[in-house]
Symmetry: C2
Subunit: 185 residues, 2 copies
Amino acid sequence: MKVYKKRDVPVHLIRRYLEPGPVVLVTSQHKEEINVMTMAWYTVMEFSPSLVGCMISSANHSYDLIRKSKECVINIPEAHLAKTVVDIGNCTGRSTDKFSELDLTPHKSSKVKAPYISECYGHIECKLIQTKLLHQYDFFIFEAVKCRMASAPKYPQTLHYTGEGIFMISGKTLNLKSRFKPQNL
Amino acid sequence: MKVYKKRDVPVHLIRRYLEPGPVVLVTSQHKEEINVMTMAWYTVMEFSPSLVGCMISSANHSYDLIRKSKECVINIPEAHLAKTVVDIGNCTGRSTDKFSELDLTPHKSSKVKAPYISECYGHIECKLIQTKLLHQYDFFIFEAVKCRMASAPKYPQTLHYTGEGIFMISGKTLNLKSRFKPQNL
């Protein structure tokens, strides 16, 4: 298992990790039941409060755990976990304990009951704050209340799903800071 | 100018291009006024109808053009347009004709009045269908009504914004198709 040294990141900075669009793993807990699902249909919605909008189909077992507990954790896996990410999306928490089956370690979170995944680059603890589009679109809006990320590598090697079983892996970075107006940085 | 040979793509397949999370350029037109803005806070929301949810701040000039015309086009730029992408986000359509200033060619769309950008890898014509979260979150939901993408390269070299003036450029692809259940592909 890859071990990361993690540090707190202010929640208004989660765009740094989510805006590039990686596949994430969402962990949830209701009463004693925990689960994990893959998610790629989400977007940052605001810096402060730090908001994330997420499409979580009601067909997912996690949907009920999140709706009832009003919490979840968004975990960011790196590319070395690609096969595990696929396997998470190809079994159901209704009949499988995905954590033990897939060798993932659930770790106690600090502000929500749902655990985070130790093997991931980092995680964002979230509370459900808006369900206006839940019935019609399965769209949850969460507020990030705690964020911890690995201090190295600076830019995680993330997975980006293109459909049909094919992922794009994050590539090089390009610094265009000097072209921005200071107020837009 | 890079010239792409483009082809129609069924609208339920837009996830192929949007789900990896690239920075996109949103074009809009109301009456005779056209504009373009950068956007990275959006998510696919449904396959069929083909839905995209987008955060477009009311501080943007495009917000009004889109709200009034109820249409827009989502254009996907490749990495060679990185400087132009930054420049689009660092001036305002209120005082600048961004198309002529930045050497972008607006081209007539087929199902909406807003033009698409010829220099981009592809584009998705969209109609506004839901504004329930517009007042509180500046969140628009669009239905994709037409999609055209370049036939090559198969995977565009897209830009993914990490904040602070730094972009991630899409890297290699990883095919894990054989690990998926057929119904999940």
